[in-house]
Amino acid sequence: MLEAINLTKRYEDGELALDGLTFKVEPGEIFCMFGANGAGKTTTINLLLGFIPPTSGSALIEGVDVAKDPLGAKRHVSFVSENVMLYGNFTAIQNLDYFSKLAGKRNLAKKDYAEVLDRVGLQKEAFDRRVKNFSKGMRQKLGIAIAVVKDAPNVLLDEPTSGLDPQSGREFLEILVQMRDKGKSVFMSTHDIFRAKLIADRIGFMRKGKLVMMKTVQDLAHEDLTDLYIQYMEEQPAQAAAPSGI
């Protein structure tokens, strides 16, 4: 389970990047967070990964406070970033092997890696190819394979579908659904409302470091997500002083 409790981050230059953010991602749930650039989505992920300390509040992973025990907390989380280049001179399997070992998975064989890569939709002939020749979609698949191998109960994704072609995007979503079905808590920051609409259980909108709206997929059943997105991104509604739906 992923949890943010009144999480606030003010940078040294005085900029308030996150302002009292509170949310929880339950096991078996996909939570998609929307927001314009600079809204605080990536800051939230950085706080959850312990890359920056919070000014106040707490970020918890499986109940472990990230600020107090960052290594203990990170044991329970996988991370997929927007545009990871990985090690270009390594093959897909070599990259996977290295990051698996960093994640503590030491007993995996080449066939195990091949199986995961196959599952994420990477073509077989690419397994032993150098990653520097990979397209963005192929690298993203490898990125998700790294997260799959770690098999942590929580998954953080930072705009993972940006730049993916429709086919890769669809395959990517299928893997996320599989993860959810396995009971993992999935937090995804994204601009991709169309893909998010297909898989999200809950959706949140962030604006200037605040969570201004959060709704379940059932609440959104009769609403147009695109209209909502535009509405929340362009102007903060007067009624959203407290996030609606929370």
Binding site: F51, S81, Y87, L102, A103
Partner: protein, 468 residues
Amino acid sequence: MLRDIIRKEILDNITSPKFVFTFLLCTILILLSVYTGVTNYRAEKKEYTASLALNKKNMEAQPNYNSLAGIGIKVSKPPQVLGTVVTGIEEAVGRVAPVNIAADPDLIESKYGSNPVFAVFGALDLMFIVKIVLSLFAILFTYDAIVGEKEKGTLKLALSNDLPRDRLILGKAIGGYISLLLPLLIPLLLSLIFLIVMPDISLGGQDWGRLLLIFLMFFLYLSVFFSLGLFVSARTSRSSTSFLVLLFAWVVIVMVIPKAAVITAAQARPIPSVHEITAKKDAYLQQIQVEGQKSVRDWVTKNQADAAKDPKAWQDKFRQYLQDYQQELTNKIDQNNAALERDYQQKKRAQQNLAVNLSRISPASALTFGSMTLARTGVDEYDRFLASVRAYKPIYTKWINSKLGQSINFQTGEQAKISLDDMPQHVYEQEWLSRSFVRAVPDFVLLAVLIIAFFVGAYVSFLRYDVR
């Protein structure tokens, strides 16, 4: 986990084009430099042997001691076998020191003097390759060690695991260093084999010790740039910035500081020019010669009456007088020259020490001085050799003066044929390894301190590094 990081770092480096490029270039340059060093050494050794034989032959060919005294003796400086890897100042300073009654010995006939074009490009020895080329490679291997991973996103991905940062930086440092050493070790080993199999190269036990210490110094020097690269990489947020900062630091360390130190020392501790000293010596010599001629004339005038009484006794007396007086004049010249030289050397040493100490801030200077000390091709070795020749000069002049006095037959005017059998020989004892090592210790310490300082800087910076 540390082993995995080291392994990854090595694998990532050795599969990169920069490794292939470095390996090829290192192999070519190192082997070329050692080959050039060996070729030069063999030529110098041949020249040295020929010079000794020629000098002896030339001396033996003199008709009498008077003409022998005129040409004097030429003391040749033996080439150093480790000049094959560290040429030092061997080619810039002279290889021969003429010793005669009048002049103060100095080393002349340098390689650069006989062919100035060598001075334009300098020596392509192993120390030069390490100092200039390989230090750049060390930067090339580390400038993006941390910041490059940040740019690729792999740092964030790696640290999203329960991976302690200290382990990551340690693994990267060890793996990166091994990767840097790999393209060096193979050509260096080949060079050693080359040195062993070459027929004219004989390395004694001390030479091997010296060679190992020189190689250790090379590795320490490269480690300084390696840890500096890590440090800068952990302090910057773009690899292009890191590269520029390191390039600037390299220029300052390798090019600016050593030259600036010499210029500063020359300004702060000026010394009289060599011409000034030579002019003073020449003036005194002229004065002595005038005095000498007058004294001899006075002695003959004063003792003229005795010549008529007993010519044989007079001749013996005159011979003894000439011998004693010649020695007295030689002593006077030597004392004057020694005093001038002492003063000059004192000032030169003060300037030299200031330049050396100032430039030692730079690891490039520490490498230069340390490796030259160990290879016995530095300024100290030159000074020691010259001092030994200067110490030999009074011994030689005493011998030649005694021969001059004894060999003149005033009745016939004939002079005795020369014999070099009892001529005292110049003896030069090479510095022991232990002594050289003690003198090189400050350079080792300085390099070690810089490595530790930069590595600690990199370590601490990385613990606080913003991976976003």
